[in-house]
């Protein structure tokens, strides 16, 4: 039952992410990407990671994609105004994403897939346990990522600021 649900969601997310790339209209691409995020959120729910699922939906589908849609609507992109990239750029993009794919697949190779295939009864994704783990075992990486976010935020404000001379 759970496994079938997993396959269904995985199928949906693959199809939708394929549509993100192939859709001609950028707004349609964004909408497909939102559906992809939803299917991934549901995968977290299957793993009993409710907190992660909710935060995933709020941050990715609820905030980042709204801003994407916002920018695309403002720029009013469509087929006629679409920028055509040169063949070199396409070639470089294909190689770069291919390398990324290679890294991701190779990181899966070492993982013990079968024993952790369905940790449905895992309680680690619930908010209390997650908080305890984050603030005990992984305090330093957690704080470091917070500093990284802060730096990114300051950078964004600096770029967005009007130059006053």
């Amino acid at each position: 039952m759970i496994l079938n649900l997993f396959y269904f969601l995985a199928f949906l997310s693959v199809i939708c992410s394929f549509m993100v790339v192939t859709a001609r209209n950028p707004v349609h691409s964004v909408l497909y990407l939102i559906i992809t995020f939803f299917t991934i959120g549901c995968q977290y729910l299957i793993l009993n990671a409710q907190f992660l699922a909710a935060v995933h939906i709020i941050v990715y589908a609820g905030a980042i994609m709204v801003l994407f849609l916002y920018v695309i609507m403002l720029l009013n992109l469509n087929q006629t105004t679409e920028v055509h990239k040169s063949n070199y750029a396409k070639f470089a993009a294909a190689i770069a994403s291919g390398l990324l794919l290679l890294v991701m697949v190779s990181s899966l190779k070492g993982a013990d897939l079968l024993s952790n295939a369905l940790p449905q009864n895992s309680q680690v994704g619930l908010i209390e346990n997650l908080g305890k783990i984050l603030f005990n075992s992984f305090l330093l990486p957690f704080e470091l990522s917070a500093i990284l976010f802060l730096a990114a935020m300051v950078g964004a404000v600096l770029i967005g600021k009007n130059e006053v001379k």
Partner: protein, 342 residues
């Protein structure tokens, strides 16, 4: 198992129908309150005191000609109001409407589902709500609609931040993000509004902005944008957008009452020594009294305050509410540490 499904199904149906019913009569209430504040009569012709006005409005909406602009993307044009309505109805499932009923030894919780991330669920659904407006506004292929949609998305994103931060302070004092536990805690202790007055003010301001209600109703500002995101909509699709706004108002009143005003609790009610089921039915009545008060408050504000200018709205969100909510978090933390030390 079957009994469980039937009981949940009935509960979902009741909550859905109550949401629709309250939303319908909110439109009537809105007009009556506007009329009262402006020294007019308000709707008075349909039925006694104009009580049949919402039904007449509904019939009118259904009978109107349905227009889909030729140039618009038809699917997305229809999808817009559907998403708005769908997300408006989705939040009701995590709100605890009353304390559990006990019938024949079986406990029946008056809450459709008690997920332990209740507040986050509400946030997730609220952040989805903006897609209804954005998709509808974009698919209309009208500059006014597009401007309305863009305003809506910027406004929702900005106020969600402050709203989330005001909730963090509340979560710090309650120690849980499950709505049923927050409601149950206020049964014995104080209402959260006493512990978190600043957080409550920030939250209710953001709730106004998230519902696109006056004084923050810039996405549908008729003096600048004709009708805002729903300029091109007609018939029941327009009705869905307007209706979704009233359902959102009802749901956010319910969330405010649950988080800050004790939910289904009333002070000193436990001292009366009533039976459990009587208490739980009284609790539902109290919760609805609070919700209706907040709906009235929403309307009261609408007919009292003028609309903000767009830069003022952004100023208030980013430069006042967000720093204030961070200050609130710091203050709450400091008080909690001080309490521990003493």
């Amino acid at each position: 198992m079957l009994a469980f499904i039937i009981y949940k199904f009935i509960l979902v149906l009741i909550v859905f129908l109550i949401s629709l019913g309250i939303a319908a009569y909110s439109t009537y209430g809105e007009r009556k309150i506007a009329a009262f504040l402006q020294d007019r009569m308000g709707p008075s012709k349909a039925g006694p005191y104009g009580l049949l006005q919402p039904i007449a409005d509904g019939v009118k909406m259904f009978m109107k000609e349905e227009i889909i602009p030729d140039v618009s993307n038809k699917w997305l044009f229809i999808l817009g109001p559907c998403i708005a309505m769908f997300t408006a109805c989705m939040t009701g499932v995590v709100i605890p409407w009353g304390r559990p009923l006990i019938i024949g030894g079986e406990t029946y919780a008056l809450q459709i589902t008690d997920i332990n991330i209740g507040i986050l669920y509400v946030f997730g659904v609220v952040s989805m709500g903006v897609y209804g407006i954005m998709i509808g506004g974009w698919a209309s292929n009208n500059k006014y609609s597009l401007l309305g949609a863009i305003r809506a998305s910027a406004q929702m994103i900005s106020y969600e931040v402050a709203m989330g931060m005001s909730i963090i302070a509340l979560v710090m004092t309650t120690g849980t993000i499950s709505l049923s536990e927050i409601a149950a805690q206020q049964d014995h202790g104080m209402w959260n509004v006493i512990k978190q007055p600043l957080g409550f003010l920030i939250f209710i301001t953001c709730a106004f902005a998230e519902c696109n209600r006056a004084p923050f109703d810039l996405p549908e500002c008729e003096t600048e944008l004709v009708g805002g995101y729903h300029t091109e909509y007609s018939s029941m699709k327009l009705g869905f957008y307007l209706f979704a706004e009233y359902i959102n108002m009802f749901i956010s009143s319910a969330v405010i009452s649950t988080l800050y005003f004790g939910g289904y609790n009333m002070p000193f009610i436990n001292e009366l020594g009533l039976a459990n089921n009587v208490l739980s039915i009284l609790g539902v009545v109290f919760l609805f009294a609070k919700i209706i008060f907040f709906i009235f408050f929403f309307m009261w504000i609408r007919w009292t305050l003028p609309r903000f200018r767009y830069d003022q709205l952004m100023d208030l969100g980013w430069k006042k509410l967000i720093p204030l909510s961070i200050f609130n978090i710091l203050l709450t933390g400091a008080i909690m540490i001080a309490k521990d030390l003493l």
